[in-house]
């Protein structure tokens, strides 16, 4: 299967059954971002269609359009060939479409059973909600996906994997013809993933159409019958999965050869700057010890929910560890707050950009200078000229694209927002920079820029910690990698030991020999 140019009409799939659901020329624009431009998608009964594309390609946006959460700006949705609209989430589920969304959209304070059935709870006499039936049916569904979760339990008390299983159970509680799964396995353990695969087979056998979104190629090839590729909001192509190989698929996704993504770099590793000894937290992580040298990029790998972010935030002073010592340049430092961390030269680029990274309602220059106001101000009084100077210096180094420096950060694209956050920290001239999922959800061009820049920082002698869930990124960027699982460090790898297999094995806790 060859890559199609964007203007070409998609090739017709070799199918004799018509699709249950199809999208035609769907367009969706957000302020500043064209998330989808005239994409097509076809879902066939009894078949699994894998939707692949880089972060930000528009996959989740399609899911939200199919489930009535977003309204498309143009194009048609067809069910059994009839054009239709989903003005509300209810309309979509009434049409037999159900989805496991990428973010878990559940209610922490409600019970598991209710999370599964909210909106379509079983009714008993007088139309009142029948709790007993709800819990019974929840139990059945949970059992069918191999989950041992008490339906009466409060969702808040579950771990991330269990929550994901609840989300899956919720999707199955609706008797649907189309089941959408947006990265359903990202947070699941090996065993749970196997059970999910069995479930998908079962659904297929029932004649349901399944849309399966994943970044994991092994599972796409394992489970999908068809594929559709998006890139930067464009439809690139579709076809039967057994007619492509991994390399071709990646090329369609990325639009160029994969080898060029990561910058070539030579490490100049210097003296130790940071040493963490015995960091413990009552519920989130335990016994974390490692060291970090100047000019080094240290990767932290793990499955989502492995506790990496939690630990990094503790290092940055957001939460307090119950035990543990940090040494910077050999001296013990106490970090009680982010302000302390910054004063000690440790800065953190969080993974949740919108909430933790940038203050989206404030202009770019104010975001950049926020931690450096001490430098730009005089006796506590603002000096705008100095602020613009500082902001200009660092945003230009990062090649930021924006209309002006007093544009609100919220109006920027994801990649440019990330640049503002990084610029903010570089302006403080840190010694250690922690990047948590630095390229999550940013477009391919910016991604390369961030990688290049990361390499440049390391070359200048900065110590870099990079938390990433993407194996290529860990392999391509880090000098050394630490793998975390369930809140603990399970391995530290470098050189030839650093292979996709070892990463996956340690992260998933699979014993030697077994593979996914």
């Amino acid at each position: 299967m060859l890559m199609h140019s964007q203007s070409q009409v998609p090739t017709a799939p070799e199918a004799n059954t018509p699709p249950i659901l199809s999208l035609d020329g769907i367009t969706k624009t957000f302020p500043g971002v064209k998330a989808l431009s005239e994409v097509a998608l076809n879902l066939y009964p009894g078949q699994v269609t894998a939707l692949v594309g880089e972060n930000g390609a528009g996959k989740s946006t399609v899911v939200k359009i199919l489930t009535g959460i977003y309204q498309p700006d143009g194009g048609a949705i067809r069910v059994d060939g009839h054009a239709t609209q989903f003005p509300t989430a209810r309309a979509a589920s009434d049409a037999g479409i159900t989805a496991i969304h990428q973010e878990t959209v559940l209610f922490d304070d409600l019970s598991v059973a209710e999370n599964i059935f909210i909106g379509h709870a079983p009714r008993g006499r007088f139309g009142l909600i029948d709790w007993a039936a709800m819990e019974r049916r929840s139990n059945e569904i949970l059992k069918s996906i191999g989950a041992t979760i008490d339906p009466a339990q409060k969702l808040r008390d579950l771990g991330i994997a269990s929550k994901h299983l609840v989300a899956i159970a919720r999707a199955l509680s609706i008797d649907a013809r189309v089941v959408i799964m947006d990265e359903p396995t990202a947070a699941l353990s090996h065993k749970e993933i196997q059970e999910l695969y069995e479930l998908v087979e079962k659904l297929k056998a029932q004649g349901k159409a399944i849309l399966f979104i994943s970044h994991k190629f092994d599972e796409i090839f394992h489970i999908a019958d068809r594929y559709t590729v998006f890139r930067d909001g464009q439809f690139i192509g579709e076809g039967m999965i057994d007619q492509v190989n991994e390399g071709q698929l990646v090329k369609m996704m990325v639009g160029r050869d994969v080898d060029h993504i990561f910058p070539k770099r030579e490490s100049h590793i210097g003296d130790e700057v940071l040493k963490v000894v015995g960091y413990d937290h009552p519920t989130e992580f335990a016994e974390i010890s490692f060291d970090l040298k100047r000019g080094e990029i240290l990767g932290f790998y793990g499955l989502v929910g492995a506790g990496r972010s939690e630990f990094m935030q503790s290092l940055f002073g957001i939460t307090r560890p119950s035990k543990g010592v940090v040494r910077i340049d050999g001296r013990v430092r106490v970090i009680r707050s982010p302000a302390d961390a910054v004063a000690n030269g440790i800065v953190y680029v969080p993974e949740d950009r919108g909430k933790q990274g940038a203050i989206t309602a404030l202009p770019i220059f104010q975001n950049v200078t926020l931690p450096s106001l001490g430098k730009t101000s005089k006796n506590g009084f603002l000096r705008l000229a100095e602020e613009f100077k500082l902001a200009r210096e660092y945003t230009e180094r990062l090649d930021l694209r924006a209309a002006s420096l007093d544009t609100n950060v919220g109006n920027l694209s994801g990649g440019n927002q990330q640049k503002v956050v990084i610029a903010k920290w570089l302006a403080t001239q840190p010694r250690v920079i922690i990047l948590d999922e630095p390229t999550k959800g940013i477009d391919i061009g910016s991604k390369a820029a961030v990688h290049e820049f990361m390499a440049e920082l390391a070359a200048q002698g900065l110590a870099v910690i990079m938390v990433s869930s993407e194996i290529p990124e860990i392999l391509g960027m880090s000098d050394r990698a630490i793998i975390m699982r369930e809140g603990r460090i399970v391995a530290e790898l470098d050189g030839d030991d650093l292979t996709p297999e070892t990463l996956v094995r340690h992260a998933a806790g699979i014993s030697q020999g077994a593979t996914t």
Binding site: P371, E396, A402, L405, E456
Partner: protein, 328 residues
């Protein structure tokens, strides 16, 4: 990779129409309209002494409103301000009984305000409790202490030089309170719009998590804001006590909502993150002019409050209705 090819301008030109559409401009227009309407409605309105008297209707509340504005911009609220006035006034009254002179009274008033503010601040920042609930509680507690101390009694007998703060004139019709109000307005303008502290208040109000992750000491800033609000309530207590010449536990009853109304009418977002001091200043004048103008016509206070309530909702609702209507 540092390619300065794409120079980003500092600012884009702000078209003057959009400035005219700002909240402050709208409010100023309302204020001017009310002023003109008042001058036609009552022959007594355009009189220097009368206008000067009118300022007493809002100066004390406005002093608190400035600190409250900062607090609300930061995403918190303090409903106990009126109760702090009662407690501070009671403390001053007790000091008078103990034979304190004016300088000590001032210290007692300010000190009580600061203490109350610190108490709120500790509950909110240390214990992480929601400020709206905490201050509903301390509102009863502070005033309750006044009632316990005073019961059905009143403190009076304030020294004669103490009367200056609420009754004195600095020059011609310019009262001391008005001058104090103006000075405090300028100070808060500078704090909010010209200092690092003010910048962090906005940052916290827009996104407390983001501010914390940017190395701002969020809790410290919030604590200071509670202290400032307490302090302003203390200052207001001094002025009001001096103006009344006596202390009863029911003093300044219900002022908290009037202060919040002033702040919100001034364009401060009750959910935090935006608002300006000039807006609050204009709102103070609007409320003062409305109440005074209607007062001259002997309209009962409660009818004035309909006007203020309608302004509060109307000024927010009308632009939204307008834009919804235009989108049709």
């Amino acid at each position: 990779m540092t390619t300065p090819a794409n120079a980003i301008p500092d600012r884009l030109q702000t078209p003057w129409e959009s400035r005219l559409k700002s909240w402050e401009a709208l409010l100023l227009l309302v204020a001017i309209a009310i002023f003109i309407a008042n001058s036609f409605a009552s022959p007594y309105f355009l009189n220097a002494w009368n206008l000067s008297d009118a300022t007493f209707n809002f100066t004390e509340k406005a002093m608190i409103a400035f600190a409250m504005a900062l607090l609300i911009i930061s995403g918190e609220i303090d409903l106990s301000v009126a109760a702090i006035i009662a407690l501070a006034s009671t403390a001053m009254g007790a000091a008078v009984q103990a034979g304190a002179g004016t300088p000590v009274l001032i210290l007692v008033g300010l000190g009580t305000g600061l203490l109350c503010g610190a108490f709120n601040g500790v509950l909110v920042t240390r214990m992480g409790l929601p400020s709206i609930v905490v201050t509903i509680g301390t509102m009863s507690l502070f005033r309750g202490i006044s009632y316990i101390v005073l019961g059905d009694q009143a403190y009076r007998g304030y020294p004669s030089d103490f009367a200056f703060f609420g009754q004195g004139y600095v020059w011609w019709v310019i009262s001391f309170e008005f001058v104090l109000f103006a000075i405090i307005a300028v100070i808060y303008f500078v704090i909010l719009h010209k200092t690092n502290f003010g910048r962090s208040v906005y940052a916290i109000g827009n996104n407390p998590t983001g501010a914390l992750f940017s190395g701002i000491r969020v809790n410290r800033v919030k604590f200071i804001l509670f202290l400032l609000t307490g302090l302003m309530a203390g200052i207001a207590a001094i002025c009001l006590t001096s103006r009344l010449g006596s202390t009863r536990p029911s003093i300044a009853f219900g002022w908290e909502l009037e202060v919040v109304t002033m702040v919100v009418l001034g364009g401060v977002n009750i959910l935090g993150g935006s608002g300006t001091i000039p807006g609050v200043v204009i709102a103070a004048f609007v409320i003062g002019l409305v109440t005074f103008g209607l007062g001259l016509l002997n309209v009962p206070g409660i009818v004035m409050s309909i006007v203020v309530g309608a302004l509060l909702i109307g000024v927010i609702a009308l632009p939204r209705l307008w834009s919804q209507w235009r989108q049709r």
